[in-house]
């Protein structure tokens, strides 16, 4: 948006203008969040660019509180003329909502205590990333995947995506915050010829705040090929009860079904099977889950959460005991609890000491789950069921790839059978989970 002089307003200036107009329009309080993002995407297939995409987007999200009535709306249009109407309409919209005494901005005391740590979210070299370099990175990944895929390759798609963003938030009751960040992601997916008409596709994508933290492009592409070739001949076996190892990068697919019900919203709405379990064991002693927003360069790192609460490291599950819920401002008021933070940042399971190779060698027979298909988890009951793809081992030796199989259980049983945590946390994600070993899992097949 522009001022009368034609000069573009900074985010703080724009936020002040919006807050002032919103209060004049009849709101008691308001919160304005501003963002701008520049993203570039390049994809290659058959050694030529398949997609080149680039753009900048911006957004303004305004939340208004009118006598405990609430409404929020976003717009990409920062022009004053349209924003004036936008604000007036939004305040009017809030006015028709039913009154809810819990709908307020947080008390300002909860904004206090923010860390001043440098989270290193901005790659200082990001600005020097050239189009040529992006193409070169993508080609290197593609080449490595093609050369490691060998005769089996039907198709390889390699890609590079990067973005830089800035965000700013301000409320009418004293919260102010800003953040900037960068992100760079590379990888490839490969489709290979298997028996008959089966054409398994595997992939490997990794992303970091700093481009320099990425593994070598050749390694990224080679890993995509290896993971695809690992799918060859995948078949289901007879339904069996067996130890499974949930590979680090995908373990969240199952674990998220345990963490989601820890939110105060789910608890207050009586759709959490964990509502009464605080302070009680919900898993084995090997299950410790932390939320750490202050990890330098972490993909989920932040200094404050969406309520504006200062970021703090917390232990959600400690050696199997449910220690803390995820309590945001709104549901803290409904429940009469102290707020903590309603959202997750970097979720950590502390690594163990042994590699998955060592663990596999010690297990008589096991399935390493490398990917999932379908499935869901019921937050109210804790029941879940999910399709798996993986590798069967016996006496430490690879036997065959398995596909089209399924695991189903209840979280309250499943995590009690967590018998070991490997030493291999997956660092290219907000969920930094190591591989997890679960005993006696019914794996459904034939």
């Amino acid at each position: 948006m522009t001022k009368a002089t034609g000069k573009q307003m900074s985010f703080p200036e724009l936020a002040d203008w919006v807050i002032s107009r919103t209060l004049k329009a009849g709101a008691n309080d308001c919160k304005v969040s501003l963002s701008r993002r520049r993203a570039v995407e390049i994809n290659y297939r058959d050694r030529k660019p398949e997609v080149i995409k680039e753009a900048t987007t911006q957004g303004l999200y305004l939340e208004v509180f009118v006598n405990n009535r609430y409404a929020g709306q976003s717009t990409p249009d920062f022009r004053t003329k349209t924003l004036e109407t936008f604000i007036t309409d939004l305040v009017a919209n809030a006015g028709i909502m039913e009154e809810d005494p819990f709908r307020t901005l947080p008390e300002p005391k909860y904004y206090e205590g923010r860390s001043q740590a440098d989270l290193q979210l901005v790659d200082p070299d990001y600005g020097s990333l050239t189009p040529e370099e992006r193409h070169s990175m993508t080609k290197a990944v593609e080449n490595a995947c093609l050369s490691n895929g060998g005769d089996r390759v039907i198709s390889v798609e390699a890609g590079e995506y990067d973005e830089s963003y800035e965000e700013y938030v301000k409320t009418s009751n004293g919260l102010e915050g800003s953040s900037r960040g960068t992100y760079c992601n590379v990888g490839a997916s490969m489709t290979a010829q298997d028996e008959g008409d089966r054409r398994p596709a595997g992939y490997n994508y990794v992303g970091c705040r700093y481009k320099s933290d990425l593994p070598p492009m050749e390694e990224v592409g080679a890993e995509a090929a290896r993971r695809t070739l690992d799918l060859m001949g995948g078949k289901k076996i007879a339904t069996t009860k067996i130890p499974v190892i949930l590979e680090n990068r995908g373990a969240g697919r199952v674990l998220n079904g345990l963490v989601g019900p820890m939110s105060a919203g789910n608890i207050q709405q009586k759709r959490s099977f964990l509502a009464e379990k605080k302070g009680m064991p919900i898993g084995s002693r090997f299950l410790t889950v932390l939320d750490d927003p202050l990890i330098p360069r972490g993909l989920g790192s932040r200094l404050y959460d969406s309520d504006g609460f200062p970021a703090l490291k917390r232990t959600l599950i400690s050696e199997g005991v449910l220690n803390e819920f995820l309590v945001d401002w709104y549901y803290s008021r409904k429940l009469g609890w102290e707020p903590s933070s309603g959202s997750l940042s970097n979720v950590i399971i502390p690594p163990g000491t042994r590699s998955t190779g060592e663990i596999i060698r010690d297990l008589k027979r096991c399935i390493v789950v490398t990917d999932y298909i379908g499935g869901n988890s019921n937050s109210t009951t804790g029941d879940f069921s999910v399709g798996i793809i993986g590798k069967l081992y016996e006496k430490g030796e690879f036997v065959m790839n398995v596909a089209e199989m399924n695991i189903a259980d209840n979280h309250m049983n499943f995590w009690n059978r967590l018998v070991e945590v490997a030493n291999d946390p997956w660092i290219y994600s907000q969920s930094r989970f190591p591989s997890l070993v679960i005993d006696d899992v019914v794996v459904a097949g034939i």
Partner: protein, 514 residues
């Protein structure tokens, strides 16, 4: 974050739910340049043919086969009900243009939210950067294609106002609670959006449309003896407010409440391969995952689909005919015109058991030398189109429902599903059953819940051994199909049918209930 290469269907906000209706027919016909959708972008944003020609020329200034512009203005609003109060309103405005340059199967894509000439020319230059040749000529003028009208709207329709939604949600709350004292929590929501689009192509097509969307849902928690169960139900699609009658409100409230209570008696089925009977309606997700995605022609032109070499081959019994259709009235996947300017059509994927046609966008249609099938869809102006499904269904057979269930012997009966996923190359798929029944000795017995069912697409098609004559279509509006990070609304339908064998992801090895 870069999306992983998966194809998924996720239904709205929760587990469980679904809504069924007999297949609507085709009604109405209109010219796309007629009111009310003819000149919105000209009137509101000054987008005229001269400007479009200029942008297209820029997009092809370094060569390319063709270019297109996709202008979008979408206004969305959601009202939420919780703890007896309609206490939250959320809205979004999406405005911008996406500009695509295509050369063979390569895409250059730029977009901007700023509809000034300078910003749009810059986005066109980004798209043009794909090529490095001499300029390609654009058409001298535009023509507007004829299309059906599969979601007629009242004159001057400008979306569903928030004020209208509030009493509807209050009724949802009241009706859910009055259904049973076992209902302890009710949440509800009324989402609506109105999407206005203008498409202009370098080969002279100009199409404009107004697409309504949204849904009304309730989600309830029931409690009995300390045990809680949850259920969700929604109805919606491309409709105006007149759809949300008292009957519709009653249906949503009673289905969500009764389904939750039914789950108190539900067990989890045994694990392993067994016959599966799909009840009619939303269970058509089976087709969406098992064959629909695999028939999207982008996968096939890249040879990455398990169906890449199967056109013209027998894939199912002769009674099996599967259709992907834009022309159903008021279903979530209905389209007057796709996002590349191709009028909505009906595409037969499997005819009498023979695989007949992929579903195409313009790039794949050119690759195969066929006409586009009107399946070029995109999430919004920030994304380029791809072949996507619309409303996918199988025609009914001639068996009775009772015979289909009896023929299953011992297995499971699927009533409602919440989500699914497929691996295109392998053809392996899964869908999640939120409500169903055991079949024991040819009869429906105990309710079941929360089970993932898996299979392989081509094998599953060959294993459809019976179908009843009771095709129903899902009338839900909350379902989104995801592909490469883009969500689009879809619907599907199925008659009651028997699949001889699928893998049921139960909790115990076969031989016992859990």
């Amino acid at each position: 974050m870069k999306p992983i290469p998966r194809r998924t269907f996720i239904r709205g906000t929760a587990l469980a739910g679904g809504a069924l209706l007999f297949l609507p027919g085709i009604q109405g016909c209109r010219f796309m340049d007629g009111k009310p959708s003819g000149n919105y972008f000209l009137g509101e944003f000054g987008i005229d043919e001269t400007l479009c020609s200029k942008l297209l020329a820029k997009a092809l200034s370094r060569g390319g086969d063709f270019a297109d512009l996709y202008f979008e203005y979408t206004v969305s609003n959601y009202l939420g009900l919780e703890d007896g109060k309609v206490n939250q309103s959320y809205g979004d405005i999406s405005l911008g243009v996406g500009i695509r340059t295509v050369m063979g199967d390569q895409i250059g894509y730029g977009y901007t939210q700023d509809l000034t000439l300078e910003s749009m020319m810059s986005a066109a230059a980004t798209a043009a950067s794909l090529c490095d040749m001499t300029a390609t000529q654009t058409a001298a003028s535009f023509s507007r294609p004829q299309s059906g009208n599969y979601y007629p709207l009242p004159d001057g329709f400008d979306g569903i106002p928030a004020q209208s939604k509030l009493p509807v949600l209050q009724q949802i709350n009241e009706k859910c609670f009055s259904y049973s004292p076992e209902i302890i929590k009710v949440t509800g929501g009324f989402q609506s959006n109105l999407r206005r689009i203008l498409i202009a192509t370098s080969d002279g097509i100009m199409a404009e449309d107004i697409i309504p969307g949204g849904f009304l849902y309730s989600s309830v928690i029931a409690e009995r003896d300390g045990r809680r169960e949850r259920s969700f139900y929604n109805l919606g699609g491309p409709r105006d407010f007149s759809f949300y009658t008292e009957d519709v409100i009653n249906e949503i409230a009673s289905k969500s409440a009764s389904n939750a209570i039914k789950l108190f008696d539900a067990i989890r089925p045994p694990a392993g391969e067994m016959p599966v009977v799909l009840g009619p309606g939303i269970t058509g997700i089976l087709l969406h995952e098992a064959i629909g995605h695999g028939m999207e022609a982008d996968f096939n032109r890249k040879n990455t689909s398990t169906y890449s070499t199967m056109i013209g081959k027998k894939v199912a019994e002769p009674f099996v005919t599967i259709i992907d259709d834009a022309t159903n009235m008021n279903l979530a996947g209905s389209l007057n015109v796709d996002d590349e300017g191709t009028p909505g059509k009906k595409t037969v994927l499997v005819e009498n058991g023979i695989l007949t046609s992929y579903i195409h966008d313009r790039i794949s249609a050119k690759h195969y030398g066929v006409e586009p099938t009107g399946n070029g869809r995109r999430q919004d102006f920030m994304n380029y189109p791809m072949p996507r499904m619309r409303n996918t269904y199988m025609l009914g057979g001639d068996a009775t429902i009772e015979d289909v269930i009896k023929a299953a012997g011992n297995g499971i009966y699927v009533e409602d599903v919440s989500n699914g996923q497929v691996k295109i190359g392998e053809g392996d798929f899964a869908f999640y059953v939120s409500q169903g029944r055991l079949i024991e000795n040819g009869k429906l017995t105990a309710p079941i819940k929360d089970v993932n069912i898996m299979g392989n697409g081509p094998k599953m098609l060959a294993n459809i051994t019976m179908a009843a004559n009771d095709l129903e279509m899902s009338r839900g509006g909350a379902g989104q199909c995801g592909k490469n990070g883009q969500g689009v609304p879809v619907s599907f339908g199925l008659p009651t049918c028997l699949v001889k064998s699928l893998t049921v992801g139960g909790t115990e090895q076969k031989g016992g209930r859990s």
